[in-house]
Amino acid sequence: MAAKIRKLLVQVDETRIEMGQAVNPPTRRALAMAVIENPYAGRYEPKLDALIDIGEELGALLGQKCVAALGIAPGQAQSYGKAAIVGEAGELEHAAAVLHPKLGAPLRKAVEKGAALVPSAKKRGGLGTAVDVPLGHKDAAFVRSHFDAIEARVSDAPRAHEIVVAVAVTDSGRPLPRIGGLQVGEIKGEDGLR
């Protein structure tokens, strides 16, 4: 593996009751994070190929971790998102290199299909910095019930020369969605939007 991983973290957030109302079935959101060494920390490099390859590895690893933590078949995944927090000796473009060119394809494989764009967020930060990972339906970005976000944070990372890479996968939308819009039952799933 090209990624030098210091820590792997997996969380599952299950909501059974919201505002006094039973959520049935409960909403479940998984978040997998890897704390990796930034191979380009401390200097400007015109090409970022190593991080692009690391993104490909982590798309598979973190996507699979999420699906396993939810205990579902890949096809039961409903929404996803990704994010990165770059330590102080790195630049925002390093997060972009991990997230955008190659992370998506293996993540889509891990959740089966995935016609929609994987929504993302990135920032620079220090130890314990939180990033809100956006979530959207994996096959149709306009599904309003699945617009959500989950907070990713590692208490002792990123160090200056590290990057925290996060992937989130759910088997559900928000706990009590009732603001209309495109419904899951209306998804065509061809263009990734509707």
Binding site: R6, L9, Q11, V12, D13, E14, T15, E18, A130, E151
Partner: protein, 213 residues
């Protein structure tokens, strides 16, 4: 009396902390359960009935955490517990967790003592090596806002003085507890700190089986 509103599990593998990578990564984890606080907003003199109700919550959480850790019970080497009480509650509501949280985990990990005797304030009669999970489960608690962090202490399950296993894991549930909620936490770890090297009692040298040494 109470229902679990939300559960939050966290499992992490630590490969190294800038030293030699561990032969086997250190796995640690916690589970948090978010409950409505039935005493929020007022002083209630008799809160002990809640402790009884929490027994089932503790058992459920201990099993769910062990399942999330995905290791046999024998692999768990240290544990801890904690509580975060929302702003309309008091610290004492967190203290309700001491018995139900601790003993749920100890019983799951092999403790075979007398919980009833403990709850009545009597000591346990000890003979030989009475199973596993002999140590007190270290704990911490606070009143805090949604998303506040709690550093849950971890110590060895059979001897509190095992120095390599003094540790802590940060627990935090984004968005919880609301003012009228409580977050109860259980934590487990599969080994010593990843680069433990400050001497003291070693796990291999536990001999008194008194929960301390």
């Amino acid at each position: 009396m109470i229902e679990i509103r939300r559960t939050f599990t966290h499992v992490e593998d630590i490969f190294h902390e800038f030293g030699p990578p561990a032969a086997q990564p250190l796995r640690r984890g916690f589970i948090a359960a978010v409950l409505a606080n039935p005493f929020a907003g007022r002083y209630e003199a008799d809160i002990l009935p809640m402790m009884e109700v929490l027994n089932a919550v503790g058992t459920q959480m201990a099993h769910q955490l062990l399942a999330a850790m995905a290791v046999p019970a024998e692999r768990i080497e240290s544990y801890g517990k904690g509580a975060i009480v929302g702003a309309a509650g008091e610290l004492e509501h967190g203290a309700l967790w001491h018995v139900p949280g601790g003993y749920a985990m100890r019983e799951l990990l092999g403790w075979s003592g007398d919980r009833v005797a403990y709850m009545q304030g009597r000591g346990e009669a000890k003979t030989g090596q009475p199973g596993n999970a002999l140590s007190i489960v270290p704990s911490t608690k606070k009143v805090g806002p949604p998303g506040c962090t709690l550093d849950v202490p971890l110590t060895h399950i059979n001897a509190s003085y095992v120095r390599s296993h003094f540790d802590a894991i940060e627990a935090r549930v984004p968005g919880s507890p609301l003012a009228d909620e409580v977050v109860y936490v259980l934590a487990m770890s599969c080994g010593p700190r990843v680069h433990a090297r400050v001497g003291g009692l070693k796990a291999a040298d536990i001999s008194k089986w008194d929960g301390l040494r």
